[in-house]
Structure formats: structure tokens, C-alpha cells
Amino acid sequence: EADIYQTPRYLVIGTGKKITLECSQTMGHDKMYWYQQDPGMELHLIHYSYGVNSTEKGDLSSESTVSRIRTEHFPLTLESARPSHTSQYLCASSDRHSGYTFGSGTRLTVV
């Protein structure tokens, strides 16, 4: 049973639309992360959070934004989607004693 949930699993959306990718975890982890991965390519860290009201940009520049109002919830928003945003988005969480637990991912296609 998954302890970290991402919705939607798949999303096809038109250029210019605003979208929010949801990520929730039930493990009480303080740290949460967003990665972007193109097929067959490496994982790129785009955002992370060490706790409520904490958000930081990752190694890869991204036009997306995140918020962390509650421990369990770490949504990612694109204000105006473009075809270059087409990718797989992976959410993960961890505490200081464990590795990362990943969600199933959201496959985003912008047409």
C-alpha cells in the first residue's frame, strides 16, 4: 500500500493552462522533494522542502512553484503550461533515518 500519493497519474493539457500536480504522504516525513525525469534520462531535483513553510529550488531550474502549508501536502504548480514542460514528475519524501519513498509519478503532456 502506497504511503505517498500523486495525482493525476496522467495529464494531457493545452498550452497556457494552469495546472497543479498533487502529492501527499501519510508517513509524517518532514522532507519532501519534486523530481523531473524525461524518458531514459536522469532524475533532476526541481524543488524540495524541509518542513512546513520551507521551500527551496533544486539543481534544475524550473518554471514551476511549490508550497508546503501542511506537512503531508506538497503540491507543484505550473502557471502557464508549455510543451517544454512535457515530462514525468516524481514526488518523494523522507525523514532523517530513511531513504526516499517515491510516489508513482505524474506523466504530463502539454499539447
Partner: protein
């Protein structure tokens, strides 16, 4: 500069034989190493880990070896099965940051 390197982007192995996936790192302060397995359209799943105080950890068909002096670790899968076909990511824990540093991944194909 990459701190965790998986220099082989792909590996093909016959079913029943051994698969060896390699990973090198540059930071001697890394204290914990993990392997993740990823199928297409799914998130990575944890496979096996090793602490820097050990040189081997075994879990069923999967064994991870750590050579700290060479800053090298490897994942052995024996015997390999077609269901093992996936992308394998090596990761290292940076205690100064509390984050994992991932390699670029190696795509393993196990042929029946």
C-alpha cells in the same frame, strides 16, 4: 560536476546470468548508499542499501558491495530474471545536506 556517476547507461544480460551494475562517487563524506529500481511510468522503488561502515549487504538475489578506498559500489543480481529489466539508480546520502545524490541510472535488459 557529478558526485555520483553511473558510467554505463545500459547493460544487457542473459536470463540466469549475473548482472553487475557499477557506481562511483567522489565525496568521501557520503555515509549511506542506496539502489533504486525504476520501471517506465512508475516512481523509483527502494531496492537495497549499505552503510559506509560495511562492505557488503545481501538481500536474496541482490548484493551490494562497497569499496570505500576506491569510492566504488556495485549491485550484483544473480540469477538475473526478465522481470529485473528496469533502470537502476545509485544514490548516496550527503550528511551535510541530508539529501540523496542520484546517479544518471543504468538501464538493465535481461534477455530470456
Amino acid at each position: 560536476d557529478q558526485q555520483v556517476k553511473q558510467n554505463s547507461p545500459s547493460l544487457s544480460v542473459q536470463e540466469g546470468r549475473i548482472s553487475i551494475l557499477n557506481c562511483d562517487y567522489t565525496n568521501s563524506m557520503f555515509d549511506y548508499f542506496l539502489w533504486y529500481k525504476k520501471y517506465p511510468a512508475e516512481g523509483p522503488t527502494f531496492l537495497i542499501s549499505i552503510s559506509s561502515i560495511k562492505d557488503k549487504n545481501e538481500d536474496g538475489r541482490f548484493t551490494v558491495f562497497l569499496n570505500k578506498s576506491a569510492k566504488h559500489l556495485s549491485l550484483h543480481i544473480v540469477p538475473s530474471q526478465p522481470g529485473d529489466s528496469a533502470v537502476y539508480f545509485c544514490a548516496a546520502s550527503d550528511p551535510s545536506q541530508g539529501n540523496l545524490i542520484f546517479g544518471k541510472g543504468t538501464k538493465l535488459s535481461v534477455k530470456p
